[in-house]
């Protein structure tokens, strides 16, 4: 049904060779203005469009980048993707999206699928279940440009873009403390995720700086990062069942924050009142109403843009890159 116009068609129609046509189209100086015009005009007339796949095969690049995130339907990631797309669009790259749904297996499959030579580079935020990153290491060593954002792997030496998670966590926790709460729990996702570690560290630092001792019982992990309602509910039930019940909670993730509010609602725990909450969240709607949650907002759009700029720089680098950056962007605390 599709009968695409090729260079060959133009050549035949104009009685020229394909190479002449090719050169004329790309405006080489070693071609007579006459034929050049002839070719270009005819090409426009029949609406010739070069076949990007043939080009890719020849030039061994696809002009597309792969993006691996846990969930698209998550305000943080959708904002980041918006940023990624904005840069990619300007530079003529396609953005291929894939989701891990926080599953390690799925991450491996997606990464390999993208990498089998169909993308020029990879932008990835690790799944919450990922601790082994040999699938990425392998590809990275083979030369696939990779840039991490959000959830990074220190083991792989490349560009990384993250928010200042430690500082954001510090501010949120401090805010709770300074609002009069003293028994502050911490709800976080998987323990090996870089963001969890950074946020935990900020939380602990804030406690320490305010002379509060860390209580191990107050720290609860939800390895599925809020994807499983049960998991979040159990964590919260455990907290509420403690003899020395916390009076506030610092939540370390977007999904987890809404999950947490949702659990509180179902358990009829009033917020604030029974329990104050501060947590990471990038929902614009939440920011608009913010009935109960003090939120740490990440510059997701900017993170996406920056990561993409770095990736394209790696992809288009003529020589092997030696210096890698880890960019840390500021978060902001949204208080009501």
């Amino acid at each position: 049904m599709f009968e695409p116009v090729t260079i060959k068609d133009i050549a035949k129609a104009l009685g020229l060779s394909t190479s002449t046509v090719s050169r004329a189209l790309r405006d080489t100086h070693e071609i007579s203005p006459a034929t050049k015009k002839l070719v270009i005009d005819y090409a426009n007339k029949i609406n010739y469009k070069p076949n990007p796949i043939a080009l890719s095969l020849k030039e061994r690049r696809s002009k597309s980048i792969g993006v691996v995130v846990s969930e698209v339907a998550n305000s943080y990631f959708s904002q980041a993707i918006d940023g990624i797309e904005s840069i990619a669009y300007d530079k003529g790259y396609h953005v291929i999206i894939s989701q891990t749904h926080e599953s390690f297996e799925r991450e491996v499959v997606n990464v390999n699928h993208l990498a089998s030579r169909s993308v020029d580079g990879l932008l990835i935020s690790l799944s919450s279940q990922t601790k082994d990153i040999s699938h990425l290491k392998f590809l990275h060593e083979k030369g696939l440009p990779i840039v991490f954002f959000d959830r990074v792997a220190d083991e792989i030496v490349t560009h990384k873009v993250i928010a200042d998670n430690e500082k954001g966590a510090y501010q949120a926790t401090s805010y709770l403390i300074e609002s009069g709460y003293k028994k502050i729990a911490h709800l976080t996702s998987s323990s090996y995720l870089s963001i969890s570690i950074e946020r935990l560290s900020g939380y602990e630092k804030a406690l320490k700086d305010h002379g509060i001792e860390t209580n191990r019982d107050y720290i609860k992990y939800c390895p599925h990062g809020g994807m499983l309602y049960e998991e979040t509910e159990n964590a919260i039930k455990e907290l509420m069942a403690l003899k020395d019940k916390p009076d506030a909670i610092f939540v370390a993730g977007d999904r987890l924050s809404t999950g947490c509010l949702s659990v509180f609602k179902n358990l009829k725990i009033s917020v604030p009142g029974d329990m104050a909450i501060a947590g990471f969240s990038n929902s614009d709607v939440l920011d608009l109403f913010n009935p109960s949650l003090t939120s740490v907002r990440q510059p997701a759009y900017e993170i996406g843009r920056l990561a993409t700029e770095m990736l394209l720089k790696l992809i288009e680098a003529k020589y092997p890159v030696e210096e890698f950056e880890k960019k840390v962007l500021e978060t902001s605390l949204s208080i009501r």
Copy 2:
């Protein structure tokens, strides 16, 4: 840096021809079990992966679909993309995302970019500024499989998947009326969008069925669909400036609903109280708190899945498809 393994490498290493290797790998029956095993084992050993680009060139298909939406960072679309990805992933298709930001020019560029033979099919929700669809018509006539979702073009005969916008609008408007409001305004996006027309129709029908006359002054358009704060604000200011001020408002879009709430907040118009609101919105956070908005929720994930299934059916159809469907999925009203 990347030095990919090819069939040629295997052939050379094993002293076979490329055709034999190719056949052995794809398990043709006309090949000796011995060489078959030899080839497959060696291929696994050196981790051979077929080059999808070479395959695409040969088979004239890329195993990827293009998705065109106005904004990724929008709960409706991100949920739809989640659904799209879920089906595409299962069928081994890549999903290439592009955004129009409600701009017609950008839609044309994106569509053409995707279509120049690099995607096997297109999933599109029109931009709010699109009234001329010749760019799509052209490609569709050339044979590119296209499936519309959400914002469709009746002019093009193909599969379409939408929510029951008219019914959703009818229910929301009726809900306002039955809650005691009588002067119900309607805030909508661009007048030529299919969803606008359908929702307006539901709104008018509800008024009529409840014996209320339609007031032209009560219908306000925001062609940018809530993307421009000013535009939304002006529309609302105009409504508030009417001698016979409305007491409720039915909002026809996701972005517009939050935009509207945001304007009310800034103008210190209390909701409900000064003004009741019901509107289309797919934000899960909004659904969680829903402080003031009664929302019409669309089955975005399902719409995405269904549209993708239909598109893949078109793509993989052996014979030209004659019968096209327009699937209409139910919305649900979320009341607080």
